[in-house]
Structures are given as C-alpha cells and as structure tokens.
C-alpha cells in the first residue's frame, strides 16, 4: 500500500483523485496506470454524442452558403478581421442574443456566433464531462497531451465545428497505438488540413496550377500554388522538433510531398464518410528528396512514406519524449527520463502505450516535489473530481476557462497551449482561480461539508501541514474548501 504513490498516480499522471479513489489505487499505483494503457473499444458516451467529423466538416460551407457569402471576398474579409474573437464567446451570450431585437439583419460575425456557438458549447461540455467522469484518467491525460501536440484551434473560424472532434477521431484511437498512425490521421483530418491550409495547397507544377479554370471562381485566388504551413509544422511541431537539423528546403519539399491532401468540397459525397480527399491533379509531380532521402513519385503514397519515416526519425523520438517528460514530470524535463522515454519509443517502433509506460517507469516521475502547475482546464477538471461534482455546462466552462486564459479549443497557435508554469501563472489568471474557488466553495460548502476530509481524500499525503492548518483555521467550511482549492498542494502536481 502506498498512498504517496497513489496520490502521484492520481494527480500527476491523472486528472485528480475523486473521493475514495486514492485507496483504490494505493494497492498498485503503477499497475493502475499501466492497466489504462489499452485502446478504448469506443469513445466515451459524451463524445459519441457529438456530430461526425464528416458532418462537421461541411458546416462552415453550409453557413457560408446560407449567408450567400461563398463568392463574396469582401464579406469573407470582414469575417477574418475578427477571426481572433468571433462574437462574445466569453460571455456565453452567443446563442441567446442572435438578433438585435429590432429585426435588423445580423452582421456576419453575429451570424457566425449564432450558428456555431451551440455546437461549440456542446463540444466543450462533452470533453469536460469525459474528463471529470473518467475511470481511466491517465488515458485521458495522454489524449489531452496528444491533442495539444497536434493542435488545431478554433481561433481559425473555419474549423470551429471540427476542433472539438479532433481529439475523439484522430487522437483517442491511437493514444495506445502507433505514433505513425496518429500522425497520418492528423494529416488526413479536415480540421488539420484546413487549420494549416494544406487543403488549398497545390503543387507549382501540378496540372491544376496550369489549369486554374478547373477551379470554381471563388477558389482561384486562394489556390494558386504551394502553401508550406502544414509542411513546416509537421517538421517543427509534430515530428522532428525545431532546430533538429532540417532545412527550409526540407520544409518546401515536405509541403510539395503532401500537395493534393485535401478534403471533399460542398456538394460532394465523401466515400465511407471520410472527408479526406487526395486530389492527384493538385499534387506536385515527380520524386522529392527530404532529409537526404528520395521519395519516388507515388501520389498519395509518397506522403505516407515520408510521414512514416518522420515518425520513426530519432529526432522525433527525442522531441516527443522531451514533451512527454515536460508534461508529466517537470517544466525542465530531467534528461535521464527523456532518454528513457525516447529509447522506449524507438525500441517499440513508436508504440505510444510502450512510450507512456516508460514515463510510469521513470523514477523522476515519482519524485516528491510537485513542480507542475495545472492548466486551467485540468484545474477545473480536478476541482470537479475532488468535490464529486457539480457538472459544469458548456457556456459556463467557456466563460470560466476564457477568464483563466484557456478558452477551450482555442489555443493561440499550432504549437498549442503552453506546458510550463510561466504560461499560466499570470497574476490575473491566478486571481481568476481564486474567484472560482471562492464561488464554487460557497456553492458547495454548507455546514456539513468538511473541507479537510475533502482535501485529504483528493491529496492524501500530498496535503502539506501548511495547507491543512490553513484549512483548519478557516472561518467557515466554505473558506476552508476554497483555501484547499487554491493551495499550491492542489494547483500543482
């Protein structure tokens, strides 16, 4: 029995202990974690209830068509001027106030907000509910980690309906599978193809480049040649890592290799519901040399081969291991742990379950100091788990997380949310946690709630004497509960 290790398993590897959970884990904390490293038979019910990727992929165009906007660049430009903040998504009034009450037509932005916010809120709520009720919180933490690794962000308006689905459809099926499969699924997902523009990228020497008349008029200005965005991020973020030795030529080459990786457009029926559409006449013809290796012309298979090699590249192993160690162990990941995780990745041929097991087997991950600060999202999840409720609704979550600096599915860029405390420890963000803890505690703590029991059951031996005595000295159960929730013991893991 080790309650110390159970607390680390539940909090550092998981999403926070629920009442009674530490005792269950204490018999075999490592075993409890490793038992979670199995593929899931099907997504959790809240995620299953969300729309399919295929349906969501068409939503943006459906909305454009409904507005009669498809051909009007001026209107699109107006939309883009506000791309970082479409509507009052933070206040949760998007769905409630779609008109100005006087029968005036909606602005483009208002219409966008009205059309997309309910689905966005559903996605936010489903993901949160999945986490707060998860029986396999290590699996969920890994899913969240990989979704952040392959960030797609609703900061780009086109993909707001897709962003909540990416984790379910791209990440979760491969969290305990092979990285190369997750990488491929990511590159084929309409969210990624749209977020990093690849769906519009065409080879400079492709048939389409020579015959723009095949394109609908509204696309001719937007599909004139190569877009390096996804090619660059594949190397810099998704696989090798920045400054790992690749060159600008490699970026350009990889971008060419994946030209033609696009999606079915409006009015087309994707076979088997797969929106991915390889368009050969947009693909750059001929062999391509990437990182010194030549890939013969092979259509879509050229890209598949290149991605597979990238997945198994030693730099990728180090890059992924470093990120995993930073996520689960420390902002400055211990080199020995990185080496161990990278070795497991390489030895297993990029098997992510084996890689995750290597984190569990790293003694550094079980060392005492709690140095990682929870992200706002994980912080909220763990408060709900520790208190066994209350469920939070989508618009509440959007408002709360926005105020704490992490609007859901809205990472600032393709590099995702920060995974070091400096990204989250701003004065205002910490103040917002105090506000939340204070309010939640008033809601939850009546006179028969014992905050010390709740704290002990969430933290076990990780409850420090200083925090315990602050809770004991609190002037009410609500205040004691709030002090527990804002304590470093609870905010860190």
């Amino acid at each position: 029995m080790s309650l110390d290790q159970a607390a680390i398993a539940a909090n550092r590897f998981g999403l926070g202990a629920r009442p009674g959970e530490l005792k269950t884990i204490a018999g075999d904390p490592r075993g409890w974690l490793k038992a979670q490293l199995q593929p899931e038979a099907s997504p959790p019910p809240p995620l299953q209830a969300l729309p399919t990727t295929a349906a969501a992929a068409g939503e943006f165009v459906k909305w454009l068509v409904a507005l009669g906007l498809t051909g009007r660049q001026g209107d699109l430009a107006k939309l883009y001027q506000n791309r970082d903040r479409p509507g009052d998504a933070s206040g949760g009034q998007m769905a409630a106030a779609p008109t100005d009450g006087g029968g005036q037509p909606l602005s483009v932005e208002q219409s966008y907000v009205k059309y997309f916010s309910p689905g966005y809120a559903d996605g936010v709520e489903a993901r949160f509910l999945t986490a707060t009720t998860s029986q396999r919180p290590f699996f969920d933490r890994l899913s969240r980690f990989w979704a952040n690794h392959f960030t797609i962000s609703a900061a780009k308006p086109e993909i707001i309906a897709l962003a909540p689905l990416f984790e379910r459809d791209v990440v979760r099926p491969h969290v305990c599978g092979r990285f190369e499969d997750m990488l491929l699924a990511s590159c084929r997902h309409p969210g990624m193809l749209m977020y990093l523009d690849n769906y519009l990228s065409i080879g400079p020497n492709s048939p389409l480049a020579h015959h723009p008349e095949y394109l609908p008029a509204f696309l001719r200005d937007r599909m004139k040649g190569l877009n390096e965005n996804l090619g660059r991020e594949l190397l810099e973020l998704h696989t090798l890592g920045v400054r790992s030795g690749y060159t600008q030529a490699d970026v350009t080459t990889l971008a060419k290799i994946i030209t033609g990786w696009s999606i079915y457009g409006p009015g087309q029926t994707p076979p088997n519901g797969d929106v991915f559409h390889y368009i050969d006449f947009a693909h750059e013809p001929g062999p391509q040399t990437l990182l010194g290796k030549t890939y013969p012309a092979a259509g879509e298979a050229q890209g598949r081969s290149a991605l597979k090699d990238l997945a198994h590249h030693p730099a990728t192993a180090t890059h992924l291991a470093t990120k995993l160690a930073r996520h689960f162990i420390a902002d400055d990941p211990p080199p020995a742990a990185v080496a161990r995780i990278a070795a497991a990745y390489t030895a297993s041929g990029g098997d992510l379950a084996a890689t995750a097991a290597a984190i569990v087997d790293s003694p550094e991950a079980w060392a005492a100091p709690k140095v990682k600060l929870k992200t706002p999202d994980d912080y909220l999840v763990s408060t709900v788990r520790a208190l066994d409720g209350p469920p939070l609704k989508g618009f509440q979550l959007i408002a709360l997380l926005d105020r704490m600096g992490q609007r859901p599915f809205w990472a600032p860029g393709p590099d995702g949310w920060p995974d070091i405390q400096d990204g989250w420890i701003g004065a205002d963000a910490i103040w917002k946690r105090l506000e939340w803890a204070s309010r939640l505690s008033q809601d939850r703590a009546a006179a028969d709630v014992d905050p010390l029991t709740i704290a002990q059951s969430a933290l076990g031996p990780e409850l420090s004497p200083a925090t315990a005595s602050a809770i004991r000295a609190a002037d009410s159960p609500a205040q004691g509960l709030a002090l527990f929730l804002v304590s470093a013991d609870f905010q860190r893991r």
Partner: protein, 399 residues
Amino acid sequence: MLDRRQWLLGAGAATGLAGLPRIAFAAAETDRRLVVVMLRGAMDGLSAAPPFGDPDYESARTGLAIARPGAAGGALPLDATFGLNPALERVAARYAAKEVIVFHAIASPYRDRSHFDGQNLLENGSTTPYGLADGWLNRALAGLPGSSVAGRPELGIALAPAMPLMLRGPAPVTSWSPSVLPGPSADFVARASRLYAATDPRLAGALSAAAEANGAAGGMGAPGAGGDAFVTLMSAAAKFLSAPNGPCVAMVDSTGWDTHANQVGPYNVLTRNLMALDQGLDALAVGLGPLWSRTAVLVMSEFGRTVAMNGTAGSDHGTASAAFLLGGAVAGGRVLADWPGLKPANLFAGRDLRPTSDLRSAMKAALRDHLGADPAHIDRVVFPGSGEAKSFDGLFRQA
C-alpha cells in the same frame, strides 16, 4: 473588460436583484419577520461590545481594548459598563431608540474551538456537532401554526448560494444570491497570500501582483468585497421579506470574523467587518420600511475570541461573545449580561470570556414570543436536549 470583482458565471448572468424567485400575490401581511445573521469566523465580542466599565478590561485586553467613551475612537456607551464599537454607529442610534438588545458573555453549548464544529452545532440546534442533519430554524418553521404560514410558497430564505444547515429541513425554504457576486473576500485573499508565502513563492508573487492591481491590497487595507456583499444581501433580504406572500424568515451569512491578525489599527479587519454589519443592518431596516416595526434580527457568531491579544495583533478562538437582537419588534435599549468579569481567575479555561448565558435562550425567545412557535415544539424538536437553556422572557414588545 469585466471588472475583476464581478463574477460572471454562465449565460445571461443578471446583476442586482433581477431573478427573484416567483412570488404569488396574496392578502396583506400582518405577521412578523425574523432575520438571523450568522457571523462566521467567531466575532470578538469584547471589541464589538466593549465592557469598558469592567476594571480589568484594559489590562486584560492590552493592545486590543477599545478606548473609553469620549476618547478618540472610544466606545459608544450603552450603560455604565458596556458600550458598542464606534464602527457600530447606526446600531448605537437604534439602541438609543430602544430597538436593540445586546447580549454578552453568551455562547452556544459548544465548548471546543473548531469553527466548523461550532457553526455546525449552532446551526443544527442540538448539543453536538453533526448531532442533527437539519437546522433548528427550519424545524421551527415546520412547526409554526398553519395560520402564520398559509399562502406562503416558502417560509424561509437563505441569502446564500447554497442552503445553510440552519435552514435545511422539512419546511419549504429557498435561497438566493446575486448572479454577479463580488470577488473573493479580502480575508480569504489574505489567507491565501499567507499560505502561498509559506509554500509557493511563484503563486505568492502572482497573487500579490493581482491583489495590488485589484486594490484589494491582500485584505490589509481597502474596504473588502465581503462588506459590500453583506450590504447587498441585507438589501435583498428586505425585498424578499416585504414581498406579498414572501418568506417570513431570512438567514444571512457574514464571513471574515476570524481576526487572528490585524484586529487593531487603521483599516483593521474587525472595524471593516463591523462597519459592513452596521451598514447591512441599516440597509435591512430601511428596506423593510413599515415592516421593520414587526421585525427582529438576531446576530450571532459560533463563539468568541481569547481575552488577551495574541502575537499578531489579533485574538484566537475563544468561547463566549456578544450577540445582538434588534428590530422594531424588540423591547430594546438594554444590555442583558450576567457579567463574569475579566479577572484571570474568572476566565473560561484561563483564557476566554466565560459563558453565562445560552444563545438558545435568545433563539427560543425569538421563536416563541416573536414568531409564535409552540414552546413544546421548540423544546422537543427545535432544540432537543436544551432543558438547561430556558427561553428569555420579555425581549419583544407586545404586538
């Protein structure tokens, strides 16, 4: 940009008093109203109602004693022995108008020093913490004669987000709190700061920067949000109690009374809390208008504080304290105390003001003589095991 102190939770959060529960219209009101104010954290009765006439007061409370009447910052005299803290200016005026009774050296049956247990016992109405799972005030409402409750969808209301134990039970009650609450109380922020200072320099730095930006000053200076919140809640209580067919009982929480530090000096926590209490009680009286003449407010705390000052210009958990009963229905202008004195030999456990009367006696009187509850029900169901605590007599004007 939202103000930091606003709390916007979810869609369409309303400000102010919008969103009052639906209340049916009905016949004119004739009966009485009771408001219970719970001062959570243990109010220092020796500073709220200083016994300046006790020859041992100043020496026993060196560093904490309120100056004698007439001195700068001196007590507002009530009689030859007792006064009120100068922050309770409006309460003192109502005392002069014979609307206030001050109880002193009074306590619940609880004799240990845990806030949680002490509040739990005081709210559940039994003689042990967690002795009963519902609250004495609700059980009292459940036993009121039909004529005084007829037509009321709810008999009680808690001005709190969650139903406090005192008002939980079989009788229909509701609760309300503003959708937009002020931010964390200054006291809570100060405690979090101290915890961070002891455990986490990075969090400490972030919070101190935030508190500075907020002007909350870590709970050590500017008026705290907690005070404003109490006034808001008391104003809201007045509206609920005045509504046709509204509840006849309200319970309001006031927090931040745990003055382990910074209890004296300019802008100290205790003065700030007392000022908010003073304003809040006044807001209730003003808001109730003519109904004030049929209202009683019982203000009490789970226990008192040590007689002597501690090492941080504050006081620690004690036993007996003061309590207040005020309202137009109260036969006031009196201090009710069997004063035990402050000589070391007279202190409870060698450190606390000795309790000589029981808060249940005041609560029983309010239920029996003000709300018209059945005395047998009170003794049997509302406060089981309270035989030693007989109801006070004559606290209320004859209707």
